[in-house]
Symmetry: C3
Subunit: 312 residues, 3 copies
Amino acid sequence: MTGLSCRDILGTESLTQEDIHLILDTAESFREVSTRPIKKVPTLRGRTVINLFFEPSTRTRTSFEIAGKRMSADVINISGSTSSTVKGESLLDTAYNLEAMSPDLLVVRHSESGVPHMIASHIKTPVINAGDGQHEHPSQALLDLLTIRQRVKKLDGLNVLIVGDIAHSRVARSNIHAMNKCGMNVTLVGPPTMMPVGIEKLGVRVSYNLADAVEDADVIMMLRIQMERQKQHLFSSIREYANLFCLTQDKLKKARKDVLIMHPGPVNRGVEIALDVLESRHSVVLHQVNNGVAVRMALMFLLMGGGDEAAH
Amino acid sequence: MTGLSCRDILGTESLTQEDIHLILDTAESFREVSTRPIKKVPTLRGRTVINLFFEPSTRTRTSFEIAGKRMSADVINISGSTSSTVKGESLLDTAYNLEAMSPDLLVVRHSESGVPHMIASHIKTPVINAGDGQHEHPSQALLDLLTIRQRVKKLDGLNVLIVGDIAHSRVARSNIHAMNKCGMNVTLVGPPTMMPVGIEKLGVRVSYNLADAVEDADVIMMLRIQMERQKQHLFSSIREYANLFCLTQDKLKKARKDVLIMHPGPVNRGVEIALDVLESRHSVVLHQVNNGVAVRMALMFLLMGGGDEAAH
Amino acid sequence: MTGLSCRDILGTESLTQEDIHLILDTAESFREVSTRPIKKVPTLRGRTVINLFFEPSTRTRTSFEIAGKRMSADVINISGSTSSTVKGESLLDTAYNLEAMSPDLLVVRHSESGVPHMIASHIKTPVINAGDGQHEHPSQALLDLLTIRQRVKKLDGLNVLIVGDIAHSRVARSNIHAMNKCGMNVTLVGPPTMMPVGIEKLGVRVSYNLADAVEDADVIMMLRIQMERQKQHLFSSIREYANLFCLTQDKLKKARKDVLIMHPGPVNRGVEIALDVLESRHSVVLHQVNNGVAVRMALMFLLMGGGDEAAH
């Protein structure tokens, strides 16, 4: 078996196109497990997964926990608030100490960019970045690609719009890198205050008009607006933002009949997506969530189970 | 096998008498599991149970978690404080997203009445109400009935007193519905400020004098007083409440020799029950807790395991 | 098999020398489990362990949880903040209620001394003290002894320095009792304000000069300084404390070439131990953490699994 080119999943930027396709193919083969009455395979029995979440997240933590348990791994949850970082224990101390308990995988989420990378560079245990600051959220991008590939049956050559607060979005960043590697054409749409300067260097196009940009899109990925950004004057009001960038039936007039509409959730209805658009057949938001479990099972399998010992 | 008449356990009001007896009989058969050295049956292996607790509760959450694990299910805990409702994700979004991860059961507790019903009406995954506001707490009533049936060997025709803050008690409401269906005669006792207007319509009697009311009772169920109600002027002082409604040896003078004394816990000693009464042979408070695990195993089995696939 | 002399592990003070050696020997035999690809033995399948942590602790809770899961036990975590002690439920009520759910072991941590003892004296379920106030932390002392025995190949006759805030340290107290029983010679070092009056009665020596005291030491165990003690005027400044008691290469000049340096973690670098000393070959801090899992597996096995039923 040909495995991943890397020991950790820190971001899509450090994955090869082959890695991405291997992950998606593996995830596809694990999707079936969650449809069985007995949703469990013995593949990772006796492996220890630690979910180290310094930033709260119901869905991502639950998705990793379910993925681990469906592979028969033991899953340990540690949340920032109960961790001994309250005792002044440094991040790196926490990582060293956890590693000394012989886990097989650390899943790390942190509100600051770079934390999973820093941890991974100091320990031998594989690390999955489950979201770091405004940097990367690779398992989200991978589940997005899996969802697109299932629906459109290919990735290469597809036109994708990513819409919203690009500058602060780790979901956007991970998708841009992954989509570039898979031959997809990415156009970013959003207010100028939310568009990173020089982002075109990443091989993407930029547009400020959603209704026009939808025309050629195979996929429209809406991002979540952090309401607290308003205080930072990145947009003047929710209403004004929604007028320009909320995906409505009206703005979809020029769109393709079979366009896919995606969102990493949770959706602010009427701000990022109008309710009727969200509930239309174009929307694959819950398929994304469903694919999240399969993608995380695949990542765990490829990082922990891809050796001879798994055959035992 | 004849199963339940319903897909969810939202309250005892929506259960039939046959449902109740099926649950109690099933619980009786599972009680033995918790007495073994190896307290585990493979019945629900590979099923995913999500404990979604928006209101904190050591005992109820732990009881459901232990019940699930003794049936070999995978149990995922989500508490309100760590859930992404802090991100403004709506309750229903949370439910839809969790359902997309293919769980087999959601156990929901919330401080507002009706939340488990609302969730159950929108998703296909079975839901157990683990307590919603002042509405229902069906697994508590079912474990109460199991405890009574074990001790008195029947339910039909028994006289039960339920004593305390009837108006605000989901335990009282679930017991009234369940006891009515099982042919039991319920008398409610408490201060007028804590007695719902028109409650007699539910087929119960009302009394304001505990010492008199105990006379014919086979079972006296004391409810927990929420100390914060005092601020709402529902009673003038804890002392006055205890004078009138604390179950003491003195107030038990006219009681039957074999009367059962119950409480859903935690007990405010000397407020609802005098210490010597709580420690007397009449008190079955800890038997109730013990039966809680068996009842929750039964509910999980009947909602998740009652099909052909369980035979695999 | 000869078992432990006690039903609970409340402190090293109540263990015999034979108990300690049995625990260390058993831990030694379980260390290998955590080095396998499949880190799991079926020994405690179907046993229920409840981690009841009223005081937050990433490492100790995680270590017990991993130990339980590697023995195939079901592990339930209850933290103080989510427990119904917020409802005014007393500690003892919590314990009685948990016991009624038929667990096989309670692991209790509390910021007040004596809580695990009080719980253990009222219930039949075995209790492990995972740290109580300034009293005892027996599993920490046992993993310390295991680490020393692995490195030095014996315990009897070794000279140990314990350095720091002796008066407030449950780690010191548990080690003093355990080391005394194993024939080790203990010298306590620290500022007079942090040295309990009359501590010599426990059969230890006291010194106030670290650089001199290191001379004959086989083992130097540094304790963690609680920074908030400074407000209590137990030392005038961190800088002054570090000048006198931080273990530096300079203070180690007279030390033995093969001295072991230990710390229960997390280390305040430059306060208790200088960075270069911490990273030197003398330091066994992470070996201590690693041994923690094996010691806790041993304690669980000896308290829960040492009977005939384990052979099934």
